[in-house]
Structure formats: structure tokens, C-alpha cells
Symmetry: C2
Amino acid sequence: MYFSVYDGAVSSRPEVTMAERKRQLVSSELTEAALQLLARKGFDAVTIDEIVATAGVSRRTFFRYFASKEDVVVQFLADMGDGIRAELAARPDDERPSVALRHAVWVPVAACGDHRERVLPVVRLILRTPALRARFLERQAQWSDDLTGEVARRLGRDAGDDMYPRLAAGMALSAFDAVLRRWSESDGAEDPAQLTDRAFAVIAPALDGDGA
Amino acid sequence: MYFSVYDGAVSSRPEVTMAERKRQLVSSELTEAALQLLARKGFDAVTIDEIVATAGVSRRTFFRYFASKEDVVVQFLADMGDGIRAELAARPDDERPSVALRHAVWVPVAACGDHRERVLPVVRLILRTPALRARFLERQAQWSDDLTGEVARRLGRDAGDDMYPRLAAGMALSAFDAVLRRWSESDGAEDPAQLTDRAFAVIAPALDGDGA
DNA sequence: GTCGCTCGTGGCACTCAGTGTCAAGGGGTG
DNA sequence: CACCCCTTGACACTGAGTGCCACGAGCGAC
């Protein structure tokens, strides 16, 4: 499940402990309060004190759940990175890179489209706030490193010696970025899955080239 | 001239005003002190107070020259973005994208190699410090937007309608990133210009494809 | 020369992000 | 009941970044 699509209520599965459920609840409360305030008033106009007052916890507790104000927002989309990597790892090793990477990006992106009402405001907030944009790009850089490793493993190449794996990961995330941006600029009107196809049609010749 | 290769002394050209030269001097002093301290002790271990004490100016003055602690470092490499765009704009409009973009990236990258002693420590500092990495990527995102516009202009395409310009810019900067990283990891041993050639050999098929 | 203008600077106070520490409470376990 | 573990809230503190104001150095006008 990508971008923490919690339902706001505590799931009462018996296998998780009480403390665990309380933690989830506080985290949800905090995320909900933060995203709602930030999207409405803008990133700089909201202080941590406002957020914790709305969520009904202490300032100190906020920083036990999130490393920074940026983190609340970025965390919301953070799981997509793991999703992309996991999806790539699940593709057969002999599949063409362009196909495997397209699928890897496709799945999380399509999930965005499925939760447009919740995800789109967050994406718009990130794209228009430099500090958030920076932190999000930082996160993407980690995704890029992960993807690089996975691509190298699939091809049996050494990422420290060969430039292809890193470039392939970079191109795939450039496509991801372009899709997210187009999707946001169209107010969610364009189909993310289709945008992904179009983006990968452009970069495929390089992904499947001989990588000399 | 990329990455502010000042000489530490005040150039006494008569056509610039006294105040202007003083400003340059303070800026140099600050940059010098900051880079030296940060590279030696690490980003988090150095406070603004230390920097300004070393440079001999007040805390308040620091923020008149740089927007943040990150900014001192990132600014040092910031001109490379303008360089890339300018270089691209200078290429003939009918040149193949792979060739034009390769040249555009090549020139600033080669400049890095020419000032290795000064640039390499900064690059290493950025790559190993998350906060700086984030700010640098943020800056690169601006470069990407600029490049996207220039690519669209060259091809007479609309960047708002066509995904190719944004993807081409993204791929070029992915290549730039990969080169910078390899260069840093090799302690400057590998030739940046040659790394650029190799990276563009990988992405060229996509840059010169029909961009369907 | 000196008056007055401008601009860069330093000093101060303030807000806010982020962290270390400690005491208190609540829930599970013997 | 007593004990332990984990989470929380409260407080204090550092450091980044900003607004404000007064001072002084350069510079043109007279």
C-alpha cells in the first residue's frame, strides 16, 4: 500500500498489540492534521505548534513520529519508492529493462490515480514548495540508488563499474517525475498510467540499447 | 566561469565601484571560511557563528549574502546550471539533441575537472550530506526546467503538451549526476569529459529517437 | 570643507525548528 | 499487588533565520 492510505479509524485486528494501534492512531492524527493545514495555508504559514494543537498531542511527540516538518508530507509518498523497487524485483530477470522498469513505475503511479482526492493535493503542495520539493527529491535520490542496485543485479553488471544501471534508474525516475508533474498540472485529469506509457516510449530506446 | 572561482584577492579593476569590490571581498571571505570549515568538520558540526567569526563579519551579514547555511555550498556550483543552458542555446538548432545536450553538459563538467582541487571537496561534501544533497537536487530541478524550455524551443515543440523536452532534460541531468558521482567516487581520478561521453552514449538512443 | 544622501553593516530581539532530559502514567506480566 | 516497559508531556536549550534600527563610510552637491 503506497502513500499511507490509512482510513482514519483504528483497525482492530487482534494480532497487533494495543500499543501498536495507539501509535498508528497518533501517527494518523498527526498526518491528517498536518496535511489538512499545510494544503490550506501553505507550508511556511503553518507552525508545528498549530499542527500538534490540532492533532491534540504535544510538540515533543510530533518529533517522535517525524524527523521534520517536511517529513510529514514526504513520508506520505515515501512508500512508493519501496513499491517501485519491489515491483522491479518481481519482474522476470530476462525481461527487457524498458518493460520491467515501466511496470515498476506503473504500479505506484496507478495507485496515485486511484486515490486522486487524497494524493493530488499533497503532490501539488510538494511541487509548489521549494523546501518540500528538495526533501522529496532527496528521497527520490535514495530510490534511485535502490533501483540502481536492482537493475545491476538483474543484468549481472557491476554498478560501480558500469554507468548503465545508474542511468537506467535515473531515466526511469525522470519519467516518474515527468508523469507526476503532468498529472498534477492537469489537475488529475490525465490518466497516470497512460502518461507512464508515453514517457517510457520516449526513454525505451536508451533502456533497451546496448548500453555501450 | 563556473563555481565561483574567485582568487581570494580583490581585483582592482577601475570600472567597478569601491562598494562592489567590498561586496565581492566579503562574499569571498565568507565562502572561503564556510567551505574550509564545512569540508573539515562536516556540515552539522559547523555553526554560522563559527563561519562568521572566521570570516570576520557579523552573523547578520552572513544572511545578507546567503539565504541559508546550505546556500553557501550550493551557490558555489550554482552557475553550472546557467552554463549548461547557455551552452545548449549556443548549439545550432538543427543539431541532434544527443550531440547538443552532450556538449551542453560537457563544458561545465570539464570545468570541474580543471579545478579539481577546489571543486572535488565541495562535491564530496554535498554528496555525503543529506541536507546539502537535497538543496543541490532542488537546484538541479530548476536547471531541468530551464533545459526543458530550451529543448522545447529548439524543437519547436510545446513543453506543456509534449513529454519529450522534459524527459530529454531529465535524462541529460541524470547523466550529469552519474558523471559527478563517478568522478567523486574515483577521487577525481577518472576523466569527467570521458565519463560524460560514456553516459551520453547510453542515453543517446532515447534523445535521438522519434520521441513517440 | 561640509552637508546630506545612500547603502552596507552590526547589534539586538524575536520566532520557530529540532533535541536532550526527566518525571509521570498506563498497560501487560510475575 | 508490585514490577517493568514503553509512551507521553513538560521544560530547557541550541541554532537557524528574520525584522528593526542606529551607526559609519563613501560620495555627490553646494
